[in-house]
């Protein structure tokens, strides 16, 4: 282990002060400004949503042939970002990856915020959003049910399930820390509130045993969702015969892309947080480096996806598919997103072959930002560029967003940031209980192998 997961061997009390302190300490002017900005953007978001619903989605840039654009791009993008959290907290947990400990809560919260953003769009992009509930099977007097052949009802089901399970999983993990918050709360009001949220947690052994069991079960439930959700989302496109959508590689390729972008977003967020709260010894380079490695791996899966698509387009011999892949995307309208996604998703991750890049905070942060941009562009490439150039040249059309489209995208970023900041302020964003557990294990580990002991402090 080149880099330790925990620098130093802080006592339980020290850890408690440090990790719970983020909640108790008053925020400075910086916080107020941050909240003001994100709050304003959130207001913008809801204003534009109202405007869209009142006027009709004609205020967007969508048209015939480009029936889907920003709304669906944003949806897929945010859902993708939402994948890292559950991946880290559930899958890495099942694989007993110790390094997940200090970032799992944090990334789960990120997941929830991201999925909330995503959840806006499937409803908002409808021509008649007030009928969105028709996507769910219920016995109506019409005696008509949703069509299971279409991907969209499954979308609705998958996303809502994913959100519910992630929420439960995250909340369950919070319980012990909510209890600690309750017990360490300075004022009675906070004690009452956190007490309510802690569901009367008492640190008894039996409680812990049940807790662990439930946690494991939920992890088991959450893990497959990571794979299923984006597979379902990808079938929104894969089941269609649009050149550039009609492809069986989509599910794995979308899941990989999702985790890819998810980890990028984790890094984007964790680096400033770690700096602001000065938690370098809890969230160490080791964590960042592991994330970087995962980005490199998933990045290659995405690249492989691109290559397979090109190969199949050529291999199919279908003129429309070939034109799509080799003419429309690199040379057609909005070709910028094609190059952006190639550079950011295939090119940028390659720097992570070098340890120096993986461990350099600035490189990591900028790279992660670029990857976020790249993944958004990739979705625009897939959705918009494909629709611009379909089978009948007579119906080729171009797409350009309106100010409403752009405003809504920015608005969701602001809303996301607002929720996340609130989380940072109100809850311990690093799992105190798990950190304590890890600290103890490391101490045990050090005793058993004193030889290694020194290096940990290195």
């Amino acid at each position: 282990m080149s880099e330790p997961l925990l620098i130093g061997r802080p006592s339980d009390a020290a850890l408690g002060d440090e990790l719970l302190g983020t909640t108790w300490r008053a925020g400075g002017a910086g916080w107020k400004i941050a909240f003001a900005i994100t709050g304003a953007l959130t207001a913008l978001l809801f204003a534009l949503i109202t405007y869209t619903v009142v006027k009709g989605i004609g205020v967007w840039g969508t048209n015939i042939p480009v029936g889907w654009a920003f709304a669906i791009i944003n949806f897929v993008w945010w859902i993708g970002i939402g994948h890292a959290g559950t991946f880290i907290s559930a899958i890495l947990y099942l694989f007993e990856q110790g390094w997940r400990t200090s970032i799992n809560r944090f990334s789960e919260a990120m997941t929830l915020c991201a999925v909330l953003q995503a959840a806006i769009f499937p409803v908002l992009h409808l021509g008649r959003p007030w009928f969105a509930y028709w996507l769910f099977p219920y016995p109506s007097v019409m005696e008509v049910w949703p069509q299971t052949k279409s991907a969209l009802p499954w979308d609705a089901a998958a996303v809502s399930t994913y959100f519910t399970v992630s929420l439960l999983f995250w909340y369950l993990g919070l319980l012990p820390d909510l209890a600690s918050l309750r017990d360490s709360a300075p004022t009675r009001r906070r004690r009452v509130i956190y007490g309510l949220l802690a569901l009367g947690w008492n640190g008894k052994a039996v409680t812990w045993r049940h807790y662990k069991a439930v946690y494991l079960v939920l992890a088991g439930l959450a893990a497959p969702l990571v794979l299923s959700v984006h597979s379902v989302v990808s079938s929104d496109f894969a089941i269609a015969l649009v050149p550039g959508w009609h492809s069986t590689i989509f599910p794995p390729y979308f899941v990989a892309g999702a985790i890819f972008s998810g980890f990028a977003m984790v890094i984007t967020l964790v680096i400033p947080v770690r700096r602001v709260f000065g938690l370098h010894h809890v969230i160490t380079r080791k964590h960042l480096e592991n994330c970087a490695k995962l980005i490199l791996v998933t990045g290659w899966i995405v690249a492989y996806g691109y290559m397979i698509e090109w190969f199949l387009d050529w291999y199919s011999g279908d003129r429309a598919e070939m034109y799509q892949a080799f003419v429309a995307r690199p040379f057609g309208p909005n070709k910028i997103v094609f190059y952006l996604s190639m550079i950011c998703n295939v090119g940028v991750p390659q720097i992570f072959w070098w340890t120096r890049a993986r461990t350099s905070v600035w490189v990591l942060w900028i790279a992660s930002l670029l990857i976020n941009v790249g993944m958004w562009s990739e979705r625009m490439m897939i959705i918009v560029q494909s629709l611009q150039r379909e089978y009948l040249p007579s119906q080729w059309g171009d797409y350009s967003p309106t100010w409403v489209d752009i405003g809504i995208l920015i608005g969701t970023i602001g809303f996301f940031a607002l929720l996340f900041l609130a989380f940072l302020r109100l809850l311990p964003f690093i799992s105190l209980s798990e950190m304590r557990e890890m600290a103890h294990e490391l101490v045990k580990h050090d005793r058993r192998t004193p030889a290694h002991g020194e290096r940990h402090d290195g």
């Binding site: 219920y138 016995p139 007097v141 019409m142 005696e143 008509v144 017990d183 007490g195 569901l199 009367g200």
Partner: protein
């Protein structure tokens, strides 16, 4: 040890609260579903007041006037038609000429201004119902309109919801009235029957969407 926050019974309250929470969530879904099936929503059994106190009981039962005498276009047209004032006056220029109840009718007749009746049976605009074809297949008026002959004021008795329409349209025996498409189909195997039915224009077209929505 921190002083205890909550009294012992708080757990009970808490559990109760949780139960209520879930019950409330469930009712949010179930209550509307029940509501839309109530007459209040389908506006059944609502005695609308009309500009003329027209009493079907008297005309249909006492005088024995056929439905089609006044609603004459029901046989020929999608619309059953509300009779022109002239039809009313056809009789009432002879009988009850002076009745105050008929003042509105007379005014309409002599001023040439139509009587503005209130619609009782209201289908949404995207539903295309055709009276003539139903009558041609021997549907009695009562089947949808109830026993109008016993109504002082005409009210809507059928819910007129889509599943109510489908009840008949799915039942191909009822649907095709006297055509009896399924004779001798029953004798063959059910599979044959369904194949036959599935391939029979007259039957299958009764449940396709554009039968009513165009």
């Amino acid at each position: 040890m921190t002083p205890r926050l909550y009294p012992p019974w708080s757990n009970l309250v808490y559990r109760g609260a949780l139960v209520l929470l879930f019950a409330g969530a469930a009712s949010l879904v179930i209550v509307p579903m029940l509501y839309v099936r109530t007459p209040y929503n389908t506006s059944q059994f609502q005695p609308w007041s009309q500009p003329v106190e027209f009493d079907h009981r008297h005309h249909v039962r006492d005088d024995g006037i056929e439905c089609l005498y006044c609603h004459s276009s029901a046989e020929r047209s999608a619309s059953a038609g509300v009779p022109p004032t002239a039809v009313c006056m056809g009789c009432h220029s002879q009988v009850w000429q002076q009745s105050p109840l008929l003042e509105v009718v007379r005014r309409s007749y002599f001023s040439g201004q139509p009587i503005s009746w209130r619609r009782v049976h209201q289908l949404p605009g995207f539903v295309y119902f055709d009276h003539s074809v139903h009558i041609a297949h021997g549907f009695p008026c009562e089947r949808c309109h109830g026993d109008v002959g016993r109504m002082a004021r005409v009210t809507q008795v059928a819910p007129l919801t889509m599943n109510w329409c489908l009840d008949c349209h799915r039942d191909f025996q009822a649907g095709v009235g006297s055509e009896r498409v399924t004779d001798n189909a029953w004798t063959s195997s059910m599979r044959m029957l369904f194949k036959r039915v599935a391939s029979d224009r007259r039957v299958t077209l009764l449940t396709t969407c554009t039968t009513c929505h165009r």
